[in-house]
Symmetry: C2
Subunit: 394 residues, 2 copies
């Protein structure tokens, strides 16, 4: 049910197939983010049309609204959001540390104030695990303590240690839920999905900030703790310089077990995807394509383009002449500019669609390059970077 | 190129085929409104999926932004908005009298203040005709003076007389444009569409408020003025009681030439569509399905439903169990409620899609009933009303 087969490598980069209860996922893969159980402005049919294989949803947001019990009563997260391909839920850790107003952290968990209704709520490793089990994604994430990108070693050490203690509790809780499930003692709340063969796996999150010793120690202790089906690198892309993120990935790459899929959380922009795949990462998620799309910014092979630019007023060409998405094969830049200037909803959808397609196609292109074997990805990436970072067209 | 064939009648109601340069349209037909060159929240593919045969776009809005010359440079209105089926543009008259801030009317035309940039602009019958020719819709509407629904006879008489004088000027202007086109003296601005066989027709608008004598006199003078391909009834659904609207339609029906398609502008809600088809109307447009959809209100056979209703929180059923649209076959009321409560863009799209499908299906159902012959539509309409006006489900 959970399987990862590497088909080819090129340097540290790998391409393969991750098999999950709701289907196979070719890696490297970009996951669009469906924060509130919907990838903003896009429908499941749109996501399939642009080749999305897997979507991430946010446990924090769904717990706060509509609540995991409502999702369960509506058939579980897959049926709720009408997405029948694989889903991953984060643990809520990142949101609790970035979104919530008031928060109080102790070893038990985090008390925080909902950003929706201001109410006090508590997330613990056990609750985060239970909520994700109730939601029913294919992959659940361990509840983690995220320190800011610039945190000093003591702060990062503290977050790492807590995350490691919490990981043990998440794994124990999921084990209990799984046991009850397998014994047939499955009340509604433990049967959130209607896929009969449903099982959920848990991935640990490695913290440690930008401190090499913490990252190495954290990784060692995670791997000692159990036999995982995948592993996430957290606490990056949270304000540290990009070079630091690449350093951490390079440090970790030779130490990560090769058969484990590697997920770099919250990344990223096109240049980050390319750099991280070269450093051996398999899975990505980021709100950038939809958020930037709603702001009128479109990814193109020559770098981002602002569709509101007056120069596009009567431009008959597509956003990205190399792209095969509905937006690019149907509409002119001039029309898309009009939609944004006139504040029409369709514009938000069309640029979000293009940007998601752009990142998914980027991953497709990297998979093809990796399959060409040693050196092929590096050559492709050099070409790609030369084009992407040329003086922008907008 | 412009043809209307009536296939069957049932009482005053008719069903037939209106043939336009961009294809055939089965009547009675509901036209979704693409105010700014886009039906709000919906794509052309969405519109085709719900069976839309024809779309209305607003001359006033497109003239103000992005400007008809920009639309022409981007290939004309069809190509601009990627809609290859028939289009109708209104004349801007209604918007000038309802939307614009300052306005000054004289016999030449209307000076008004743009609702976008506050700039002073002037629309005359000639300009409105030229703008619509440049946009390139299949059907253009005459520039009219719209009086409020409750206007007294003198005010309505004044608006009617001006509208009749303006109609002559619109027809003359379109004749000039057509002549130049046919002589091959067709500069870019006279060749707005890329459909080689393009021609545009002009429909008059009958004003006269709720005053029977004015409506009858107006109709007589319009019909004396020329040989039209269709005729619109304007100045209804602008604040007068519904019974008054039905009275005017009943007054006009026996006096309207049977071979002419009849367009009731700005109507309407489901009950109005049914009542007007029974009174011999063939074409409709209204922003209600999309505007109400964005407000969380969905049409159903049992009347409108407010999706935000707390009672739908864990409702697994579709918005309308009888409906075949993507929204109803894919999503639960509970999920749609969540999208609205969480202010997600997808909700606006999904309810707009359903509401447009609802009105298009309503027209389909009426066409089928009319084809069953004498008495069949009346029986269908009685059943429909009994169900639609029962105590609402929300």
């Amino acid at each position: 049910m959970f399987d990862f087969q590497i088909a080819a490598t090129s340097g540290a980069a790998r391409t393969g197939t991750l098999t999950l209860p709701h289907g196979p996922v070719e890696t490297p893969v970009f996951m669009p983010v469906g924060t509130q159980g919907t990838v903003r402005a896009l429908s499941p049919a749109d996501l399939k049309a642009v080749g999305a294989a897997m979507v991430l949803a946010n446990t924090y947001h769904l717990h706060v609204r509509p609540g995991e019990e409502v999702v369960a009563q509506l058939g579980g997260l897959h049926r709720f959001m009408a997405w029948d391909r694989p889903l991953l839920t984060d643990s809520g850790g990142f949101q609790v540390f970035s979104l919530a107003g008031f928060r109080r952290v102790d070893d038990d968990g985090v008390e925080f104030q909902s950003h929706v209704d201001g109410g006090r709520r508590t997330l613990t490793p056990e609750r985060a695990t239970e909520i994700q089990w109730t939601l029913g994604a294919d992959i659940a994430m361990a509840f983690d303590h995220v320190a800011p990108g610039a945190a000093d070693e003591a702060t990062s050490r503290d977050a790492l240690e807590r995350t490691l203690r919490w990981l043990e509790r998440c794994a124990r809780k999921l084990g209990e839920l799984m046991e009850r499930w397998n014994d047939g003692q499955t009340g509604r709340s433990f049967q959130p999905s209607n896929v009969p063969s449903f099982r959920q796996t848990l991935w640990p999150i490695l913290q440690g900030g930008t401190h090499p010793n913490l990252r190495i120690e954290g990784l060692r202790r995670i791997l000692e703790m159990g036999s995982w089906t995948g592993l996430a690198v957290g606490g990056l892309s949270v304000g540290e310089p990009k070079a630091k993120m690449y350093e951490v990935l390079e440090l970790l790459e030779p130490r990560l077990p090769r058969p484990l899929p590697r997920y770099l959380m919250g990344v990223g922009f096109p240049e980050d995807l390319v750099a991280a795949v070269e450093r051996g990462v398999d899975l990505f998620d980021c709100v950038a394509p939809t958020r930037n799309g709603r702001n009128g910014s479109a990814f193109t092979p020559e770098g981002p383009l602002n569709i509101r630019n007056a120069g596009f007023r009567t431009d008959k060409g597509p956003v990205d002449p190399t792209c095969d998405c509905e937006t690019c094969i149907t509409y002119s830049r001039g029309y898309l500019r009009h939609l944004f200037v006139a504040e029409e909803l369709l514009g938000l959808r069309l640029l979000s669609l293009h940007n998601v397609r752009y990142l998914i196609r980027l991953a497709e292109q990297m998979r093809a390059a990796i399959r060409k074997g040693e050196g092929a990805l590096a050559a492709w990436a050099d070409d790609w970077r030369r084009r992407y970072t040329q003086p922008g067209i907008a």
